[in-house]
Symmetry: C2
Subunit: 407 residues, 2 copies
C-alpha cells in the first residue's frame, strides 16, 4: 500500500520534526531526519549493551547487506548488487581501483565534466596518476548543462571509461546517461556514474541506463544521514573484477583471517574494513518512509514544487541556473539573484533554509532550493515572500558578501 502524499501530508510531516521549526528547503544538502531514526539508533545501542560482541552475529554483520538491498529499490538494482560504504570517495576508490578487464593498453582516456562533484574529480585524477590514465574534462563554460553530443563525440576506442554525474550537483541538470552508456558500450568503454542527486528524488533504473558502476549516498534525498554511501556494480562485470581498495570483509571467509585475498561474490566483494554500523541503523528509517511513498509520487510532487519555484523566480526576473524542462530537471532549483550569499544568510535568520553555491569560473553564484516530498506549496510562497522582504528592507546589507565556510 502506497502512502498518498496529498491525503497524508500532515501525518508524514509529523514524522520529520525539523519541519515544525523552519521552512526546510535544503534536502539537496541534508535530508530531514525521520523520528524513527532515533528508535533505530537506540536499537543499535541496545544490541551492543545487551549482546556485547554477539551483536555482530545477531544483526551487525548482515546490516550492510540489508541496507544495500533497501537502497537497491531506489536504483532498480537486484538483491546483493549494492554495497554500502562509508562515503562516496571510498566508493569511487573501490570502483576505480579495480583491476580492469581490458588488456588494451591503448585505453587510457577517462572522460569527465566540470559539473561533476570535486571529490569525484579528485578521485579520478589521483587514481589516473597511479595508473597512467589521461583525464579529459568536458567544460560547460559557465552554463548549467553540457550538450550530450559534446560528451558523445569524445568517447572512442581509446576511452577506458566515462565518469560523470547522473544529476549535476549545482544545476540539477539530468544528464542523458543512457545515451552516454550506449556509446561507451559500443566502443568497449565503461561508465561510472555519480548518482548522489538522483536516487530518492528521480526515478533511477541502473539496468535500463545500462551503467557499469553507479555511486550515491543516503545523506540527501534519501533522508539517511552521513556515513551511508553505496556502490552498484553491473553483475556481469563484477564477476571479473578485483577491487584493490579492499579489506577483510571482502574475503569469502573473513573469519579465517587469511593473508591471501579470495574475493567473496556479488556485493560483498566490494566491502572493505569494518562498517560504520550506527550509520547503517540511522539510514533505514528514511529508506522505509521513501519506499512507502514510492518514487513516482515523490517525483510528481517534486516537479510541481520546482515548477512553482521556477514560476515565482521568473516573475521576479531572477536568472535560473537549472533547466526549465521537467525531464531535464532533478529535485532542486538554483537561482542566481543579486547578493545571493547575503540573501541566503538573511533567509537563515528568518528560519528559511536554502543553500548557497559560489560560482566557479563563469558560473553565477546561486541559492539552491531543494524541496522534498514533505514540503508544502505554502512554504514556497514563504520563501519568496521572505526574499522580497529582504530586498525591500535592505536587510541583505547586514551580511557579508563573501564566504569562507558554508554548508
Amino acid at each position: 500500500m502506497r502512502l498518498d502524499l496529498k491525503k497524508n501530508l500532515a501525518l508524514i510531516r509529523k514524522e520529520f520534526p525539523i519541519l515544525e521549526r523552519c521552512v526546510y528547503l535544503i534536502s539537496n544538502s541534508l535530508g530531514a531526519v525521520p523520528e524513527k531514526a532515533l528508535e533505530n539508533l537506540q536499537k543499535f545501542y541496545q544490541m551492543w549493551a545487551e549482546e556485547g560482541v554477539s551483536a555482530w552475529q545477531k544483526e551487525w554483520w548482515d546490516l550492510s547487506r540489508k541496507v544495500g538491498n533497501q537502497v537497491a529499490y531506489f536504483l532498480g538494482a537486484r538483491e546483493d548488487e549494492v554495497t554500502m560504504t562509508p562515503n562516496a570517495t571510498h566508493c569511487h576508490w573501490v570502483a576505480l581501483s579495480t583491476k580492469f578487464l581490458t588488456k588494451d593498453e591503448r585505453r587510457k582516456k577517462i572522460i569527465m565534466t566540470d559539473h561533476d562533484f570535486p571529490s569525484m574529480i579528485y578521485a579520478v585524477s589521483k587514481i589516473s596518476d597511479f595508473k597512467g590514465w589521461k583525464l579529459e574534462i568536458v567544460r560547460s563554460n559557465g552554463k548549467p548543462a553540457i550538450d550530450v553530443e559534446d560528451i558523445l563525440k569524445r568517447i572512442d576506442e581509446k576511452t577506458l571509461f566515462v565518469a560523470t554525474s547522473h544529476v549535476y550537483f549545482k544545476s540539477a541538470y539530468i544528464q542523458n546517461i543512457k545515451q552516454i552508456s550506449a556509446r561507451a558500450r559500443d566502443v568497449g568503454a565503461l561508465t561510472l556514474i555519480d548518482g548522489y542527486h538522483a536516487p530518492g528524488i528521480i526515478p533511477v533504473d541502473v539496468k535500463q541506463l545500462d551503467v557499469d558502476f553507479y555511486i550515491g549516498g543516503c545523506l540527501k534525498w534519501l533522508c539517511g544521514g552521513p556515513g551511508n554511501a553505496f556502490l552498484y556494480v553491473r553483475p556481469e562485470l563484477s564477476e571479473n573484477l578485483q577491487p584493490q581498495l579492499t579489506g577483510w570483509l571482502a574475503h569469502r571467509e573473513p573469519f579465517l583471517f587469511a593473508q591471501e585475498m579470495e574475493y567473496a561474490s556479488r556485493g560483498q566483494k566490494f566491502m572493505s574494513g569494518t562498517p560504520p554500523v550506527p550509520c547503517l541503523y540511522t539510514a533505514r528509517a528514511g529508506l522505509d518512509v521513501l519506499k512507502k511513498i514510492g518514487i513516482p509520487g515523490i517525483r510528481d510532487k517534486s516537479l510541481s514544487l520546482t515548477e512553482l519555484i521556477i514560476k515565482k523566480a521568473k516573475e521576479r526576473r531572477y536568472r535560473l541556473f537549472t533547466p526549465e524542462e521537467n525531464n531535464l530537471r532533478g529535485g532542486s532549483v538554483s537561482i542566481s539573484l543579486p547578493h545571493a550569499f547575503p540573501v541566503k544568510q538573511a533567509l537563515e535568520k528568518r528560519d528559511v533554509k536554502v543553500d548557497f553555491r559560489k560560482g566557479q569560473d563563469k558560473e553565477p553564484d546561486v541559492i539552491r532550493v531543494g524541496p522534498h516530498f514533505y514540503t508544502k506549496n505554502e512554504e514556497i510562497d514563504i520563501l519568496f515572500r521572505e526574499i522580497d522582504a529582504i530586498y525591500t528592507s535592505g536587510e541583505f546589507k547586514k551580511f557579508p558578501e563573501e564566504i569562507k565556510h558554508v554548508t
Copy 2:
C-alpha cells in the same frame, strides 16, 4: 582527578550494562559500550532534528577534529595531528597512497610480518601492485612472536617503509617499534604502524616511538564502537605529503567546491569524504571514561588480570600463544587448549564471552581472553571454572569443531 579503579570499580561497572549480563572477556574484539554513548547518539539525532542542515556548522563539521584530539591523548600525539576515518583500511589507503617524498627509485622494498592483520597486508600488497613496490613478509613459523633482529636485518637503503603492528592481534605480543623505527630512520625508510591493539590498553607515545604513520581504531580497547579509525602522521613529514585517496574535506576551502585540490594543513589534510557522524558521537563516551581512569591505571590492572589468566592456564597445562613477560604482552591472552572452538561455543552458552582464532599454517587454534579495566578478578575464576566444567561434563562434544563465521 583520576578515577581509582580499586575504589570505584562497582561504580565504573555500572556504566557498562553488558557487564551485568555476562562475563565479558572480549574487549580485544569489541569493547563494552558505556551508557553515555546512548546520550551522545540521542544528541546526534537532536542536532539533526532541531537544526537540520545547520547541525553541520553547529557541531558536525568540527567533530572529526574534536574526536581526533580526544584520541591524541592515547597516542601521545598533539592537537590536530590525528585524523578520524571510517575504518583502518581507509586509513591505510590514505597513508599508503601519499605521494612520497623520496625521489629514490631504488626504494621499492616494503617489510611486513605474517602477524599483521590481513586487511593491512591486503592494503600494502594491493597498493604495491599500483606502485611497483616489492613486499617482503617476515614469517613467524607458527610462533607467537618474531625476533626483532629478523626484522631489523631486512631494513636497508632499498627499503621504502616498514608496515607492521604495534601489538600482534593474535598473540598480543608487543613489538619493539622503537628499535624498528630507529633502524628505519637510519637508512631513510618510513614506518607505518598498525596500533589497533595498543592505544587504550598499553601506554603509547608516538613521539617517543618516533613513527611516521600510526593507525588504529576505537572499536576495541577504546570502547568506541565501529566506524571510528584514526591516523596519526608525524607532522614534520605531513607537510610534504599529498594523500591521493582524498576528498573534498581535505581541501583548505572545502565549500568552494574547487576542481583543483589544494590541501588543508595538519590532520584535515588526511580527511576524505563526508564523515560518519553518528559513529563519532558514539566514540566520545568511551574516550571520556578511559581518559578519566588514565592509561597507567588501566595498564596496571590489565597486567594483573592477564597474569592471573596465565597462572590459571599454566596450572591446567594449557599452552600459551602470548608472551609471559609483562613488557612484551598487550591486553589479551591467547590459550591453545583442546577443542578450542567447541569450548568457546560452550562458554558462550554459559554467558562467558571470549573469542576464537583459527591458527594459520603452523599456529595453534586459540581462545583469546581480553579482560579490560572493568573486569573483576572473580570473572577470571569463573572463566576457568566453566572451562573445567565443559571438559568434565563432556559438553564440548555438543558443538562443531569447525567454523565458518565467528566473531
